[in-house]
């Protein structure tokens, strides 16, 4: 008799059981299972560094961040944290997401040994690359190009590096020493920095002649102007200029009411800086008002920052559009606004539509008007006939663009991510092949499903960020957020589920006893009759059933898995495994037969280091 029964295939979400997963499936699984990492533009290995922090290994945690997002101390303060919006915690826990961003800062603030520049990946190539603009995008590109073995010269117009991290973001949100330290880690890796070099179109042309490649990362420096009847523009202070002056310490004190128009980072920072410059925070009479045409939900600031703003005695008026300004005796008297209502549908350049309310005009008296409604790239720098497109490589093959300059004003983490990818592009252009690629290393952890933490850790309260009191804020530029305490860091870091651990059922061992389903804390394990996978083999949908005979699979839906390990411990057949995945930079080697093999770059570096140690 033939008792070799025909069975539905045994699906798995990795291409290999352990080792280096180089298939598309592996990256897809990683992205699905570790949503915070997938949401981070720079693909920061969040669970890896949070696990290190919870073990008190701050140096190693810093290193993970340094590798992935270049500016841990900076981003630990000002990141827009798309990761937290994606965190699995935010799906299932009313306490909110893991404080990914603040934890990054916790590690950066607690280093006992100072960090060092990252080692290069490849030998010197002798190729020369010019990077124009020393903001986060340019700095990141420079660092990565250097690690590829190219010689990098960085041209910066100002007398300091950092771009908007220094000139834009005020130091009560991001202290200067933090930025400077992290910039030094980049320049110390051997980058030729030319400060005070204003590169214009002809300058760029020269660079294109003398370098093998040129990367423009000059950000968005041109303030959008506001056409207000009644004034000629002289009375209007562009927000960016104001922030630059404030950060340079040349704004002394301000008398009279201030109106700031806009809803982005710049508008909010301008208002908060004015409040300090005018010593308005502690209740001087003059008023600082932000006026924005949509609602608070559409502002760059988050709700808790808006709360802080109000505490700092700043008024926030929303759904208002300026229609004219009134000037008397050469000085500004007031701005007239019209009120808006949200449109039911439609969108206006990606943002919801607003509808003006006829006859709703009102007047807001003020002596200063700051306009911060956005910035554009100074595209005049580009050679004749070359325009910005949505690619980093321009029509001039040697010329690359990146950061805000390419994408329009975004944020630091996008600038970093873009700086990394432009470096990959440039390297491919210079060398003619892809030398570095990300794969997923997959490791079996055979320890009864212990991720290093326990179910009780899930049930902790999220600690709040301690803030400086209003009185303290009024003096100088002291940082408002004080950083999480040791205890809060411990709690915050031990909350993370460590989603880089994947629980999977080997269908060939499963006997459908359902014991795992009985002990599970969530609807994470399903009886499934059909499982639909996409073209790379990644599960997309399934049809659930309650009837034993209809159940083809007992299936762990990773989306709902909080990595408690209970199913693994109860499974009587050992069908459930826990594997740890890690996004890993790899380089390829060809063997004699011409087959490509991928190996971990870090392993290669360790080998090199060991070799150096021996000689």
């Amino acid at each position: 008799m033939n008792y070799q029964y025909r069975k539905a295939p045994n699906p798995t979400e990795f291409s290999v059981f352990t080792g280096l997963g180089t298939a598309a499936l592996d990256l897809k699984t990683l992205a699905r299972d570790v949503p915070c990492q997938a949401a981070c533009p720079a693909k920061t290995d969040v669970p890896a560094y949070i696990a290190l922090i919870s073990r008190g290994e701050n140096e190693a945690a810093y290193r993970v961040n340094q590798e992935d997002n270049v500016f841990p101390g900076v981003l630990g303060r000002v990141c827009t944290k798309p990761c937290e919006a994606a965190c699995r915690y935010a799906w299932t826990n009313a306490e909110g997401p893991v404080q990914i961003c603040h934890l990054k800062r916790s590690a950066a603030d607690r280093l006992k040994t100072p960090p060092t520049p990252l080692p290069p990946w490849f030998q010197e190539t002798g190729r020369r690359v010019a990077v124009v603009g020393g903001g986060p995008a340019g700095l990141t590109a420079a660092r990565e190009l250097r690690r590829y073995g190219h010689r990098v010269t960085l041209f910066e117009r100002e007398d300091h590096l950092g771009g908007m991290m220094v000139d834009g973001i005020p130091s009560f949100r991001l202290p200067l020493p933090t930025i400077e330290q992290e910039i030094k880690l980049i320049t110390d890796s051997g980058i030729d920095v030319r400060l005070g070099s204003d590169v214009d179109r002809s300058g760029l042309a020269k660079l294109l002649e003398s370098y093998d490649a040129v990367c423009v990362a000059t950000g968005t420096m041109k303030a959008k102007s506001l056409d207000l009847p009644g004034i000629d523009g002289a009375e209007v202070i562009p927000g960016l200029r104001f922030m630059k002056q404030y950060n340079a310490g040349v704004v002394k004190s301000m008398k009279g009411d201030v109106v700031v128009i806009g809803g982005g980072f710049t508008a909010v920072d301008c208002a908060r800086s004015c409040a300090r410059a005018a010593r308005r925070i502690v209740g001087a009479d003059d008023r600082v008002t932000i006026a924005y045409r949509r609602t608070e939900h559409h502002m760059a600031a988050e709700m808790d920052e808006l709360e802080e703003i109000r505490l700092e005695n700043i008024d926030v008026r929303t759904l208002v559009t300026p229609v004219k300004a009134k000037v008397e005796n050469g000085s500004l008297r007031s701005v007239v606004f019209q009120r808006n209502v949200m449109g039911d549908d439609g969108s206006d350049a990606g943002k919801p539509r607003i509808v003006p309310i006829p006859g709703s005009e009102f007047e807001l008296p003020c002596s200063h008007l700051i306009v911060a409604i956005g910035q554009d790239a100074e595209t005049e720098i580009l050679p004749e006939g070359i325009a910005l497109a949505d690619r980093q490589q321009t029509a001039e093959p040697k010329l690359f663009v990146t950061g805000d300059f390419l994408t329009g004003s975004l944020d630091v983490i996008h600038a970093v991510a873009d700086g990394k990818s432009v470096a990959d592009e440039i390297d491919r252009f210079l060398v003619g092949e892809v030398r570095k690629k990300f794969h997923v290393s997959i490791e079996l952890i055979d320890n009864d499903g212990e991720t290093g933490r326990f179910r009780d850790h899930d049930l902790q309260e999220a600690p709040a960020m301690p803030l400086r009191s209003i009185v303290e804020r009024a003096v100088g530029n002291a940082e408002v957020e004080k950083g999480l305490s040791d205890e809060a860091t411990r709690v915050a870091s031990s909350r993370c589920y460590l989603c880089n651990h994947k629980f999977e059922i080997n269908q060939d061992s499963c006997i459908h006893c359902d014991w795992c389903i009985d002990v599970a804390p969530r609807d994470c394990i399903k009886k499934v009759s059909r499982l639909f996978v996409d073209e790379v083999g990644s599960p997309r949908e399934y049809v659930q059933t309650d009837v034993a005979a209809e159940a083809t699979y007992i299936y762990i839906d990773s989306d709902n898995c909080i990595r408690c390990g209970k199913c693994l411990r109860v499974c009587p057949t050992g069908a459930i495994t826990m594997r740890k995945m890690e996004r890993t930079a790899c380089c390829s080697t060809k063997n004699a037969a011409g087959e490509v093999r991928w190996e971990r770059l870090t392993a290669r570096l360790d080998e090199r280091k060991a070799a150096r140690g021996r000689t």
Partner: protein
């Protein structure tokens, strides 16, 4: 308030146990519900969930498997009143009542207590029912009567409140000789009587093995002492329980049993700890022999339980009563109790093959009693043989079950009853268990079945993992996985092959040990 995170490496059950192990069943009856915590603690009272929602199971503890006829009658009465008249004998000589309603649990316990029966410690992380080989008192192979030891151990450990919260269940069995009819090698503690036969000068004692157990990962127990003086045997069980209490895993309940302590520590370290525990309680280890104790006459039979109508040391007959599937009705138990009063020693014994026994029947009454037994529908032949199939309750009652073990029982009975197997009737036993817990210890049967579901191209169907070649001291090897309806065909092929290959009177397991599983696989798969 932030959560207390002191004892993280513990299962949730440990917190529940810490909160106390006493319940008020009358209050639960009044509320009409059992909380999760109460359900957990109810196990200490022998109360467990049943597959049918709203119903409960109670496990009556029967140390050594001996009930007085009064107790048996009382249990039958309780069953009639509260359990739809059904009774299930278990493989550890307890009796289970199913179909119990929450509101009557307290009354059931009180009614059982009327005649000195209890469900206390029927389940839970405690010393479970202490078993003894069924013929302990009168077996002609026995070294000495181990029943009193089983009963004293049950009393002593049950009364030790410092042993109320063990990491998991703790199982002890006593066998009267090396034949090990009480399955010493699959218990946490297996005590095997050595030396000291009636009239001999040899000292009486036990060989002690620990760390056996079935469940998802079966272990055969390892020898702790090759000789322990009989008078300190009960103290030793306590010292072993302390080893378990203090060193068992309280985080992962599936790896909590003593077998894992022995696996992790090794038998030497376990022995050291046990000796320390004995000393700490002032028990001398003088006379303990670690290895190499030899009995003057070390002989014992191979499958003594296969013998029918055995005659005991007192000249009376032991009659076995075959209870199909281990389940009977209250009238049947009542009649058996009556028969023990009329003809026997006023006791009813439960066996680990889910059958009953009557002891002390005068030879001349044996046939008559058998007729009486057959009149109530129970069997009187086929013990410890092909027809003595032991299924656990499976999906009939058990919430953990994957398969309908009793359906397979019904499929196999007509097959094994065929005349062609008369010659090998006593050469193989079959156990069927509905899930890896192995309530019917399938790995120690000649042919074992463990329920599973087999994936199909769409959906799944009931099936069994089949093991071959187990004996009480040796685990059967996995033979294959088959859909339920294919199982009779597989058994037939295995038995036919056995007949063809059998040498002299060997058992199926010995045959498999001798020739390997290959010829059987060939027969089945070709």
């Amino acid at each position: 308030m932030q959560r207390r995170l002191q004892f993280l490496r513990r299962s949730e059950d440990e917190d529940i146990k810490d909160a106390g192990l006493v319940l008020d069943f009358d209050e639960m009856a009044r509320k009409g519900v059992m909380s999760k915590e109460e359900k957990n603690v109810a196990k200490w009272y022998g109360i467990y969930a049943s597959r049918q929602p709203g119903n409960h199971m109670a496990r009556i503890v029967i140390p050594g498997g001996v009930l007085t006829s009064t107790q048996a009658r009382n249990i039958a009465k309780v069953s009639e009143k509260f359990a739809m008249g059904k009774l299930n004998i278990t493989t550890r000589t307890s009796i289970q009542l199913h179909w119990l309603k929450l509101g009557s649990l307290a009354d059931i316990m009180r009614a059982l207590a009327d005649e000195g029966s209890t469900t206390r410690h029927g389940c839970g992380d405690v010393t479970r029912n202490v078993t003894a080989c069924p013929l302990a008192e009168t077996c002609r192979y026995r070294r000495f009567n181990v029943l009193p030891f089983a009963q004293r151990t049950a009393r002593r450990l049950g009364d030790s409140h410092d042993l109320d919260n063990l990491p998991r269940k703790f199982k002890i069995s006593y066998s009267g000789c090396g034949a090990g009819c009480a399955q010493p090698f699959i218990n946490c503690v297996g005590a095997i009587a050595v030396g000291g036969r009636e009239g001999s000068e040899e000292p009486r004692g036990f060989k002690v093995v620990i760390g056996g157990g079935m469940g998802a990962t079966p272990f055969i127990a390892k020898e702790l002492f090759s000789f322990v003086p009989a008078e300190r045997m009960v103290d030793l069980t306590r010292a072993i329980a302390l080893l378990f209490r203090d060193h068992g895993d309280r985080f992962n309940r599936s790896k909590a049993r003593l077998k894992y302590v022995v696996e992790r520590y090794g038998i030497e370290r376990c022995r050291e700890i046990v000796i320390e525990n004995l000393r700490a309680e002032g028990v001398s280890t003088e006379g303990f022999v670690v290895e190499g104790f030899r009995e003057a006459d070390a002989s014992y039979p191979d499958r003594p339980l296969a013998e029918e109508d055995t005659v005991g040391t007192d000249g009376s007959v032991t009659l076995r009563i075959m209870v199909p599937k281990g389940e009977m009705g209250h009238r049947q138990l009542k009649r058996v109790a009556e028969l023990s009063e009329i003809y026997g020693d006023q006791r009813v014994r439960t066996t680990n093959r889910q059958n009953l026994e009557l002891h002390g029947i005068p030879k001349e009454n044996a046939e008559e009693v058998k007729r009486e037994i057959r009149k109530i529908g129970l069997g009187t032949t086929g013990f410890y043989g092909l027809r003595d199939i032991v299924p656990c309750v499976g999906t009939t009652y058990c919430p953990k079950a994957v398969s309908e073990t009793r359906a397979l029982y019904d499929l196999l009975q007509p097959l094994v009853a065929q005349p062609k197997y008369a010659g090998i009737e006593k050469a193989a036993v079959i156990n069927i268990t509905g899930c890896p817990n192995s309530c019917s210890p399938y790995r120690i049967a000649d042919i074992g079945f463990r329920g599973s579901r087999i994936r199909e191209e769409l959906g799944s169907t009931e099936g069994y993992e089949v093991t071959l070649g187990g004996t009480p001291e040796r685990l059967g090897e996995v033979f294959g996985e088959f859909k339920r309806d294919d199982c009779p065909g597989v058994v037939e092929k295995i038995l036919d092959t056995f007949i063809a290959l059998r040498s002299e009177a060997e058992s199926l397991s010995d045959c498999v040990l001798r020739v390997g599983a290959e010829p059987f696989k060939k027969a089945v798969y070709e």
